[in-house]
Point group: C2
Amino acid sequence: MSNSFDLSRCSLNTATIKHATLTEAVTTAAAAGYGAVGLWRDRVQEVGAEEAGRIVRDAGLRVSSLCRGGFFTDLDVERTRAAVDDNRRAIDEAAAVGTGELILVVGGLPANPEPGMGVSPDAGQPERDLGAARERVGLRLAELVPYARERGVRLVLEPMHPIFCADRGVVSTLGQALDIAAPFAATEVGVVVDTYHVWWDPQLAASIARAGAQGRLAAYQVCDWVLPFKEDTLNSRGYVGDGYIDFEAITGWVRDAGYTGAVETEIFNTDIWERPFGEVAERVAADYAERVLPFLS
Amino acid sequence: MSNSFDLSRCSLNTATIKHATLTEAVTTAAAAGYGAVGLWRDRVQEVGAEEAGRIVRDAGLRVSSLCRGGFFTDLDVERTRAAVDDNRRAIDEAAAVGTGELILVVGGLPANPEPGMGVSPDAGQPERDLGAARERVGLRLAELVPYARERGVRLVLEPMHPIFCADRGVVSTLGQALDIAAPFAATEVGVVVDTYHVWWDPQLAASIARAGAQGRLAAYQVCDWVLPFKEDTLNSRGYVGDGYIDFEAITGWVRDAGYTGAVETEIFNTDIWERPFGEVAERVAADYAERVLPFLS
């Protein structure tokens, strides 16, 4: 089909149609007239990164980002080494698939070593030193940046909604992400604005402007905050326009910060995952056209 | 029973034993050796505020705070007038029950007028201008402060976890609460630190210090962030020590900020609500003694 609106900056993140194979996702996005796709590693690994890049290019699409590296806040030396190795593979995949932006969900508070190892009175309980976990994010970036730079890949910190601070992402605000990014060049470490994660932040406008001024605004992802939560709280996000988020305001801040890249719609929602892929892609494109595109330039 | 540790600053919030009547809650707290109780308005209204104050005093306890006023972010004139009137009643109740601290949960993004009134293309959808809703908090405070001041009651802003931004509290960080409080005297508008709501904040230590320096630190509430969420996400909070929050660090910041008031344990948890009141009070006191008291002075 062809749409009457410009979808060249509209990107479909594969997590929105979670059950689609890479080829199905790419075909769906191309058929709906999108300009790009955002890829998750599971879909890339299905066919291999080189082949995944070819499939996307052959469909006339761009890869707006690869999700995701990170999960490197552990205390344990062996698990940390494994995490760094996995992030190197993610960097390789980003380069091979044809994107310069690797999104990082940094990880939460790690578990202490299990009881029986006898290293701590809190053995088996969560490690609670949030400041230390946040410092480890900077340490892991320092390890990974040279490797990523050689491959033309930027590491992109994703501030996560504070609901995820304990178990997924100790980087909780865009301002904090920029503080952690500060020791690195803007071409080395960037940030992503995902409306779901940051919409509530009283400092959001200022932090987006700061990210833009520094040249670190690497990606813009959209989905909505809807209530009530479903039983599966964390997969209860909504289509753009169905919830509480002010897309006109946030998109305007992103525009004013000089962002000219793609807008990825990434929705974790178990109901949406059950719908036909084409139906979801059409709805996402229509929401983009109505709620985002008018404020993007 | 008598405990070997000092519970003079330990306060039992009635929400922790939600199904207890006021008299049951006071009896439970006194029997477990607490120094204070934090009261919710429903329990106060059960017997009337004067009588509630008498019941607490007769048991040898103090009232550490009254929960809660607020919910005054509406756009609608009539609903706003009703909310302000209700907050005046809450101020009266605080004074009558014997506390100078009225905690405010300010409210979320209001609904737009319903379709049919034809005032907006978004009629019936949430009002999405978060900045405007936040400004209305300051306007409502300005209306209420003279009334509260005359009655010796401080209005205490409660920053809420961003999970509640849409529907309960548009004040999302302690720093933002202090910004909103700034036009008022410290004796007029204070702030509360509730560990559940603010533990993730990268600026928490600095904001607590700022609150202390300004003399605005009006209350300290504790409960833990536990995972996984229960089906009833919002009533899934945990006993102090059962989750991810670093009570040593946060309590230390509160202490260093000069706070000398009570520590209220306020836990919303459907399982805990089903337990015998005395059992809960004993557990709360033991957690306080182990996880909070050592860092409080």
